[in-house]
């Protein structure tokens, strides 16, 4: 018996460019940029003072009873919003015989936003000048007084998952993974694997994350990973450009309803696309750097192609390569964009230059754990509309980077099969391949 085919039947997202599929997609095709001054805390003196923030999003109208989610942090609110959109598009509620024990969840979501003012105050209250250490007793006294119990319980990274499970009453296999920037791509790949094994009929999968808090921005600033173009933030995220100098933090969520084809057909759901392949590898190289030959990313791309049964060197009757668009990890750091380009060339050889590859992070910023699913959804929309979103801010070509990055302007194209890459800090590499659904 062959393994079941897995299709996407619903999608949703909450991003710095908007909170519904069509608005965000239109803005991407128009090459709009979601960067603005950070206003979640006073970042005026930080090395980086801007980010791509989600604006004007209210989740309370998207859940049955907002009271149930009263303690939800922003990461959870974004997750609930994306999940509701996907659930509705998949028309799951109208299915009368839905077995919620056969619906699972696999998220790649991040931890909550730390309550920094109270956390800092607690730590400082606990500080003992004499020993230059935190005194546990003094710390506890302040902690019990200042910290909010519900907010602290909601910090764990499985909380977006638990909230979604509660909202939709689903009781199948439930996971959250957190492999930095690769998390939601990996979540979808593993959700597909669970469906292929027959352990569920439907999986809600994607991710949600925000690190736009004092310690998040501090951490990335200390790593010198962020762009510091505070005076030119709309042009700060410039993947694959010679003058790229770091990524721009974003935030948000994306969610897909994944379903076995048989289950989708039986309930009359319309497949939006089919997931054909998934590859996952570890660099096992260094905690800070990618392998210089792109060993891990190339292996992940190759593994996904193998699972999809695609020969990267093939051409069709019209001379086209077998993959028509790559949604790049494309963070805009020197290292990532070079290594990603190298990995694509390693795998696709002569075909590499004929495959358009763009980075929507130029417009949305880097949604960290949620980045991958948003990029996958972009691929599905590209297939639907035969349009490729651009890499904006691509002004000065890097002589080392010679692929087609769809510079600055969206493009009409023949798009049937797409590949989406995500590479996490620490060396987790994940690739998905998605294709137009055909019987």
């Amino acid at each position: 018996m062959s393994e079941p085919r897995v299709v996407i039947t619903g999608m949703g997202w909450v991003t710095p460019l908007g909170h519904d599929l069509e608005t965000v997609w239109k803005r991407m095709l128009a090459g709009e940029c979601g960067m603005s001054r950070i206003d979640r805390f006073d970042a005026e003196t930080f090395p980086t003072t801007f980010a791509a923030q989600v604006r004007d999003f209210d989740f309370t109208g998207l859940v049955d009873d907002p009271q149930v989610h009263a303690g939800a942090g922003l990461n959870i609110q974004y997750a609930l919003g994306a999940a509701r959109q996907a659930w509705n598009q998949a028309c799951l509620s109208s299915h009368s015989k839905l077995n919620r024990r056969r619906i699972g969840i696999y998220l790649g979501a991040g931890e909550g936003i730390i309550d920094f003012p109270n956390y800092a105050a607690t730590n400082i209250a606990g500080w003992d000048e004499a020993t230059q250490k935190v005194d546990g007793r003094k710390w506890a006294e302040a902690g019990f007084r200042l910290m909010n119990p519900v907010r602290e319980i909601e910090q764990e990274a499985n909380m977006p998952l638990s909230h979604i499970a509660r909202e939709f009453g689903v009781r199948g296999p439930a996971y959250n993974c957190l492999t930095a920037c690769a998390a939601s791509t990996q979540a979808i790949g593993e959700a597909v694997s669970i469906l292929r094994r027959g352990e569920a009929d439907v999986m809600l999968s994607g991710g949600a994350h925000t690190m736009l808090h004092v310690l998040g921005v501090t951490g990335f600033n200390r790593l010198t990973a962020l762009s510091r173009r505070n005076d030119d933030m709309l042009h700060a995220s410039r993947p694959f450009d010679r003058t790229r100098e770091g990524f721009v933090m974003g935030e948000g969520a994306g969610l897909c309803v994944l379903e076995t084809l048989d289950h989708a057909k039986a309930r009359g759901a319309r497949p939006l696309a089919e997931i054909l392949g998934y590859g996952s590898t570890a660099d096992a190289f260094r905690i800070t750097d990618m392998h210089p030959e792109g060993r891990g990313p190339a292996a992940a791309i190759q593994a996904a192609l193998d699972e999809a049964g695609i020969d990267p060197h093939a051409r069709d009757a019209e001379g086209r390569p077998p993959v028509h668009y790559i949604s790049a990890h494309g963070t805009g750091t020197k290292e990532n964009d070079s290594i990603e380009t190298l990995a694509v060339k390693t795998v696709f050889g002569d075909n590499a230059k004929r495959i358009p590859m763009s980075s929507i992070k130029s417009m949305t910023g880097h949604l960290i754990a949620a980045a991958g699913v948003v990029e996958l959804i972009t691929c599905v929309l590209a297939i639907r509309d035969q349009m490729l979103p651009p890499t904006i801010n691509h002004r000065e070509p890097d002589p080392e980077l010679d692929l087609d990055y769809v510079p600055n302007v969206a493009r009409q194209a023949h798009v049937e099969t797409c590949l989406s890459n995500s590479f996490g800090f620490g060396g987790q590499n994940d690739t998905l391949i998605v294709r137009r659904f055909v019987e």
């Binding site: 024990r101 230059q132 019990f144 509660r166 993974c177 590898t281 096992a284 800090f425």
Partner: protein
């Protein structure tokens, strides 16, 4: 027909020590390693006891290759524990990895070696962070000044500060040390994390993406923030100075009043049968015959208010039995989460009774949290290690502390004894409502 997956190495790391021999000896002798907390001054906390791993039993520098010793500076305690567990599991399985030297020929080809490690939310080391925060006080002894922090204060944090605390850094360091270039993931579902990781490793092997995986979980919440959050979540037993440390945790007892934290967890080597046979594996503990996961329904959204109607642990058990093609009457012992958190004990008991009906009270339980504390994201790996060893040695370890088990479960204190054990069930249920169950069978 799916590839059979075998457990060929065990690497638990708990307050009873590093490696399966120390855990097993402690469990069989009925020893508790719960002590008053020393990793922080606990006197301001209502629960002042935990299972800490003494320095004399574990020093991370002794288990990393010389060339990698510098990297221990950027390892949070959680990462150290995972690195220690990996070394123990690799040694127990008789594997040669890159840790033996750059020239060593690895037993498992690196591209076929996966790594799945359950992890938790890693709190920043309070001394390191606060030493930087206090440089940004407006005046000596005054309040924190964010403008100062942004301009200069943050520079008192080491540049790699963030990388100490990303949960995927457990797997990252382990994959580097042992050169595991296959599928790797970090699952963060509280106490279910380790078992969900083990299930994911089985999927990776059975879909042909790996021959073997280092898999399990590790965590240390014995820091101020982790400890406070556990109290807020009503997971801990009140235990002020002067109580009898060894008897605080009473799994499934009518008087159960909460858990204590433990640091640790463990990794196992899960291997495709063909790979284990081809390399003449040093030992095979058992077959990981079936795995399943589920989500419970909670009235609240954080999964802290799960009742008997809402529990889906029984679904996970039933599906794991089906996957293992094992009848409930073949299960001769059960290693539940068994935390002594009364509300969680109740739903676990409900699940066991629902699946095993009249036999529920005749299946002996393996409990470990009374001995080593709740190792949270690592806890499932401790249970799996204990159950695998029970099958291998046909021995039930001792149980301690419980004298009036609820619902007639076989949880009361008992000494270790030999037993005919065909198959074992292991259960995990996490704060948040995620559940996992595995069925282990004699190989």
């Amino acid at each position: 027909m799916r590839t059979r997956t075998l457990i060929t190495g065990l690497g638990p790391i708990t307050a009873l020590g590093v490696g399966i021999d120390m855990l097993w000896a402690g469990l069989c002798e009925g020893r508790s390693a719960i002590r008053r907390i020393t990793r922080l001054d606990p006197s301001g906390f209502p629960c002042q006891y935990a299972g800490e791993i003494p320095d004399e039993l574990f020093d991370v520098k002794s288990v990393v290759p010389k060339s990698y010793r510098k990297a221990t500076k950027v390892m949070a305690r959680d990462i150290e524990l995972a690195v220690g567990a990996a070394a123990a599991a690799v040694a127990d399985a008789g594997l040669i990895t890159k840790a033996a030297g750059e020239d060593a020929t690895p037993t498992i080809p690196p591209a076929r070696f996966g790594c799945h490690i359950g992890a938790g939310l890693i709190a920043a080391e309070e001394d390191e962070l606060t030493a930087a925060l206090v440089t940004s006080r407006a005046v000596e002894g005054g309040e924190f000044d964010l403008k100062h922090w942004g301009a200069t204060g943050m520079q008192n944090l080491t540049p790699l500060w963030l990388l100490k605390y990303l949960p995927n850094m457990l797997a990252c360091h382990v994959t580097i040390i042992h050169d595991c270039e296959g599928p790797s993931n970090t699952i963060t579902c509280a106490e279910a994390s380790a078992m969900l990781s083990i299930g994911e490793s089985q999927r990776a092997i059975q879909r042909g993406a790996a021959d073997a995986c280092l898999t399990g979980g590790a965590e240390c919440k014995l820091n101020t923030m982790g400890h406070l959050r556990q109290w807020f979540a009503r997971r801990l037993a009140p235990a002020k100075e002067g109580v009898d440390a060894a008897t605080i945790v009473k799994p499934f007892d009518r008087a159960a009043n909460g858990a204590v934290l433990g640091e640790g967890g463990g990794l196992i080597v899960l291997e495709a049968e063909d790979s284990a046979r081809a390399r003449n594996a040093a030992r095979t503990y058992c077959e990981l015959a079936g795995f399943a996961a589920s989500q419970s329904y909670s009235a609240d959204a954080t999964g802290t208010e799960i009742d008997e109607q809402g529990e889906s642990i029984s679904d996970a058990i039933q599906m794991a039995l089906e996957a293992a093609k094992t009848r409930p009457d073949e299960i001769d012992c059960i290693a539940p989460f068994g935390s002594g958190i009364a509300a969680v004990d109740r739903i676990e008991s409900h699940a066991i009774r629902k699946v095993f009906c009249d036999r529920a009270g005749r299946i002996p339980l393996i409990t470990t949290i009374a001995n080593v504390g709740n190792t949270t994201a690592g806890s499932g790996a401790v249970s799996v290690a204990a159950a695998a060893m029970a099958l291998k040695t046909q021995t039930m370890p001792a149980r301690i502390n419980t004298h009036h088990a609820i619902d007639g479960l076989m949880a009361n204190a008992a000494p270790s004894h030999s037993a005919k054990l065909r198959a074992a069930l292991v259960i995990s249920t996490g704060m948040g409502g995620q559940n996992a169950a595995v069925v282990l069978r004699n190989a």
